[in-house]
């Protein structure tokens, strides 16, 4: 499903990734780990074609990221739910509107949107806050909204960049439980983190990009 073959990535001749090779299979739960600055976020960016590799091959759903046409990038991203460390929620839209964003951009009807968003809000236990604005929520709640937005389109792959970076241990546990539950339903989950306790909590395959 996801394939990195001898991937290098440099910014101004400064190599962030060197000869990175790994595979991620359908339905897996994987941690990508390494210290700060090791290139975890860059690895995720390569998966969603935010960045392109300097050398090597990155294949996602058999699509070569190096050769992908700009017009095809949005359609690739709709297949990958992305949870950002800083949540990246739209402050001028309600929780409901933030989550429905992924469905709206796919041209889904408002009835289906209402149904799907309601279901996912219930799954992340935020239904009562659907009309609130992101800034009125706590960090953990905002992270759950970000996860709900990433999953509402039912993507085959979910990626999370330091999803518990700004959260306390309890909330981090809740977030990992949510990710696990969706993984159990068949979603491939990739979590980039440097937090060893989170890796212990997740009990899944670990890809250490510094040891590759």
């Amino acid at each position: 499903m996801i394939e990195f073959v001898h991937v290098y990535k440099s910014y101004d001749k400064n190599y962030i990734l060197r000869d990175l090779t790994f595979n991620i299979y359908k339905g897996e739960f994987v941690f990508i780990t390494g210290p700060s600055g090791a290139g975890k976020t860059t690895t995720l960016k390569l998966l969603t074609a935010i960045e392109k590799p300097t050398h090597g091959v990155v294949n996602v759903f058999s699509i070569g990221i190096s050769d992908i046409k700009p017009k095809d990038i949005p359609f690739l991203r709709r297949k990958i739910g992305f949870v950002f460390q800083d949540f990246k929620l739209l402050p001028n839209r309600t929780i409901f509107q933030n989550i429905s964003l992924s469905l709206e951009i796919s041209g889904i009807s408002s009835t289906v949107i209402a149904n799907n968003v309601t279901n996912i809000l219930k799954a992340v236990e935020l239904y009562t806050k659907k009309d609130d604005y992101p800034l009125s929520l706590s960090g953990g709640e905002q992270q759950r909204v970000a996860i709900a937005r990433a999953l509402v389109l039912n993507p085959p792959v979910l990626m999370a960049d330091e999803p518990t970076g700004n959260l306390d241990d309890n909330t981090a546990g809740i977030v990992i439980d949510i990710l696990k539950s969706f993984n159990n339903k068949g979603t491939t989950v990739i979590v980039a983190t440097h937090d060893k306790s989170l890796i212990d909590l997740g009990r899944a395959r670990v890809i250490d990009i510094t040891k590759n």
Binding site: T48, I50, K71, P74, F75, L76, R77, R78, F82, F84, K88, L89, L90, N92, R93, Q97, L101, S102, E104, I105, S106, G107, I108, S109, S110, R149
Partner: protein, 316 residues
Amino acid sequence: MIKALLTLEGHVSLISQKINYLNNYFKIAFLNIRSNLAGNFFAFLIMSFSFFVMLIFTLCYINVYNYMLSFEKNNTMLIFLKDSANYHNNNIIVNDLLKNIKKLHGVKSIKYYSYNSSLRFLIKHTPKISPVLKTIDPRDLPPVIKIHFNPEYISRIYLSNVYFRVKSLNGVQFVYYSRLLADKIGEFIFFTKVIGLLIFLFLFISSIFISYSAIKLIILKKQDEIEILKLVGATNSYIRIPMFIEGVIGAVLSFITSIILLFLLFKIFIYYHFNGFLSYFKIEVVFLNAFEIFVIFLIAVLSGFLGTYFSSRKFF
């Protein structure tokens, strides 16, 4: 049959998706306007001012141009007679003149105004100064012959010939026909057209630039939103179309405001204060007609569209 039904279902689903997109575009555009009311209001004010300047210029230009054209359309010639034809009541001279003029091809009608009827004419057409006119000795006014020509005969050469022939007749002091004036201002009309077009072009480009600057203020505030939308899989058109709708809505509202403002000003200042003064010079002041308003409306829409296009270009 099944294949046809499946194809039909596919088409229906595609149409339904397009309708959903269209619905979303408008929803997002209105949401954006609502969430940045101050920025949009500022842009609206700037654009309104720009369109107002353009409308005022067009109104002035159209009226000046119409006034100039009135000289071209005029098919009247006035012949002012010498004093002898008046004081000595020399009917023979007047009759001879009328007879000679009637012989000319293209003359539709002739009317003779004695000094008394000239004064009556003046009093009738300028009622505001009638008390002053009533104190004037009618004999101070010249008797006049007014000629109307058949429109199909009117040409610059024809009127010039008539002018010189009439001028040489006995008893004629001065011949006036507005076409002469039109000839003289013909070149001025041309320059008016060129300069008007250049100013209009300048105002049009300015309105695009003003719309661009105003909309850019709004779009710069959306950088983060654009980035997030791209990350969750929005296509460029999905992000850009609501911006165009937002820009065009702003331009249309600005246009409506400026045209209403212009109309009110036109009613207040022109009709109540200056109309009487201008009518003294036979200048009929008119408001913009539906076509002219429509053209400026299209320009407003276009400047909103182009303003959005140029200001959002760097993000795509």
